[in-house]
Amino acid sequence: MQAIKTTDLTIRFGKFTAVDRVSIAVEQGEIYGFLGPNGSGKTTLIKALCGLLSPSEGTGTVLGMDCVKQADEIRQHVGYMSQKFSLYEDLTVKENIEFYAGVYGLRGDYLRRRKDDAIAMTHLEPYLDRRAGKLSGGWKQRLALACAFIHEPKLMFLDEPTAGIDPVARRDLWDLLFQLSGQGVTFFVTTHYMDEAERCGRVGYIYLSKLIANGTPDELKEIPEASPPGTRRIEIITSQTSNALAAIKRKSYVHGATIFGQSIHLLMDNQIGLDKVKADLAADGFTEAEMFPIKPSLEDVFVTLTNSLKE
């Protein structure tokens, strides 16, 4: 059984189409990354999958349950965590966990066991009596996760779970996600971070309400639209990246150029040889540049797809 399956799911608000004929399938135990610019329809799709919005057209099932008819049951079996770490700051860690446990109707031994598990999983033990508002960002996120996971959901929606937290906490969270997905929990994660997208089993990219890419990160890098016909990508390593970027951008055979740390990623006509690029850079005074062909990164793929749709 697939954890999520949608067929031509469409959601309209009046004349505005927020989600346009999106079809995705997420396998159980998979970590599915859902990317797209702000306002492209990510949160709307999550709301529809939880039965908070009815699809204008198309269908969706979550854990085998219909998104419209069985919305109540779906909400009992999925977890949701948003970027805001929606916690009650004047309640203690323990009270927050107990509140969500109550909301999901946990009782008796099961309640005690789940509380212990959630606390152990997130290492919140030392902070149980601290007010949630007094926790640092990373700990707030752990608490939010403990709350969202208290009822042992089979599927978790994480809406930009790592926005605004430090890299160590980010890494810890992902380690936890992999551990849980190994136990069969499915994750539907929205993010703006490409390194997180690379970690996902499969990735969807939504732009202007339409799903324009869907597959494993490696598959997406191979899709023909990622590199327009007659182009290729190269990486240039130079010590003066920003000046070199300005110089190379002006060349007529260059379609796009971006800085990645100490290097420049270039999308260029594949007729042009590397020698030509090297010579042009040398002519502009960048003599010690090294270059070699590369595969597109996920970011390259999304930027190219977005730009081709803009045109």
Binding site: C50, L52, L63, R75, Q76, Y80, Y88, D90, L106
Partner: protein, 383 residues
């Protein structure tokens, strides 16, 4: 599925009520400053209104120009003084001076007795005296007019019946007896109404803010993703604030009784019972405000917006009977109007359920209506 065995699938429309209620109670207990202001601020308002405001007109500052300077004119002025409505602050000696006193605001009323006052009286002709009334304060003007007319009338009657020399009663004497508030104390009239208005403000504001705060923090979106149902959420949030509203009511009643000596003639349990539909209606309005307002500021403004009609059109200060028909209609759809009738009835007149069941029934109808509208809007918002 494993989860299904351990957790009953609940399609209970009140799902989430108990945890929300418990959480809300913790919120209230964690925020003593808010609680302090919801209880203490109304008490301060009560003290200010109770001590400072007196709508009864007494001892109106009066200037006198007695051009007659006779026994009769002095007798007339004595009547003014003895009425206790007038306080002669200045004797002047020309009409300009009299006018000046009134224009300058040193006197609200100017009395001029013309030089021929006594002569005309003794000649059996109609004598007149002039009463200048400053109309800029309508309640003072009205009082001055009534009392000065009454004085003239009484003086005329006594003269024409020649009861002056021998102390003898007039044929007809009105003996008004003011029931329930014998001293016509403003506090007795205002405070019960004020408690109604304060209850409205606190209940609407508290309920609206508690939900808008969750919206601002994003916890409301989170709750929508859980099995919590709108009805469970609404009631869970409303009940703790209803308890606070009742506590506030009792405190205000206590103050009214012991600080202002306003007697409670009726039954307090009856008062509490008749308050229930009012509090529910206000909780409904608060919830409705919360579905419209996106921010704390908006919620506060809207809550205060609902206050204006309740202050001016509920009969709290201005009698409904004096309003034009269309405003009388508006006052009939304001819940506070009925609460104030209930308060004044039970507290001042000792009214019982049989006297006030209509108000109770109307409020119950209103509460059902408001809660229904609020929960429908809430459901829509959640979806």
């Amino acid at each position: 599925m494993k989860a299904t065995d351990q957790q009953p699938t609940r399609s209970n429309p009140f799902s989430g009520l108990v945890p929300v209620l418990r959480k809300e109670a913790i919120h209230i207990s964690r925020d003593p400053s808010a609680l302090f202001f919801t209880i203490v601020l109304p008490m301060i308002q009560l003290l200010m209104i109770g001590f400072a405001i007196n709508t009864n007109v007494r001892r109106i500052p009066t200037a006198v120009y007695d051009a007659a300077q006779t026994q009769e004119s002095r007798r007339l002025l004595d009547r003014f003084v003895n009425s206790d409505d007038f306080n002669i602050v200045k004797y002047v000696f020309s009409e300009e001076e009299l006018n000046r006193e009134v224009i300058a605001g040193r006197a609200r009323v100017g009395v001029k007795i013309p030089p021929d006052y006594s002569r005309r009286l003794l000649a059996g002709q109609s004598a007149n005296y002039l009463v200048l009334v400053d109309g800029s304060d309508s309640s003072v003007a009205g009082e001055a007019l009534n009392v000065s007319n009454a004085i003239a009338l009484r003086e005329s009657l006594e003269r024409s019946l020649s009861v002056t020399s021998v102390r003898q009663a007039l044929p007809i004497e009105s003996r008004p007896k003011i029931l329930f508030n014998p001293d016509s104390k403003s506090a007795n009239f205002l405070i019960p109404g004020m408690i109604g208005v304060l209850m409205q403000m606190m209940t609407v504001l508290m309920t609206a803010i508690t939900i808008v705060r969750e919206r601002e923090r994003g916890t409301l979106d989170q709750l929508y993703m859980t099995p919590v149902k709108p009805l469970g959420l609404m009631i869970g949030k409303a009940v703790p604030y209803a308890v606070v509203a009742y506590a506030e009511l009792l405190i205000l009643l206590f103050f009214m009784r012991w600080a202002f000596g306003v007697p409670i003639r009726g039954s307090i349990p009856l008062l509490m019972m008749l308050c229930a539909p009012f509090i529910l209606t206000m909780l409904g309005i608060g919830l409705l405000v919360s579905t419209k307002a996106q921010t704390y500021q908006e919620a506060t403004q809207m809550a205060f917006g609902t206050m204006m009609p309740s202050i001016f059109l509920s009969g709290y200060i201005f009698p409904i009977e004096n309003m034009p028909a269309q405003f009388q209609f508006i006052s009939k759809i304001i819940p506070t109007t009925y609460l104030i009738q209930i308060f004044r009835g039970v507290i001042l007149r000792g009214a019982e359920l049989q006297d006030l069941w209509q108000q109770g029934a109307i409020l119950t109808g209103m509460s059902v209506l408001m809660i229904t509208i609020a929960s429908l809007r809430f459901r829509k918002k959640a979806g």
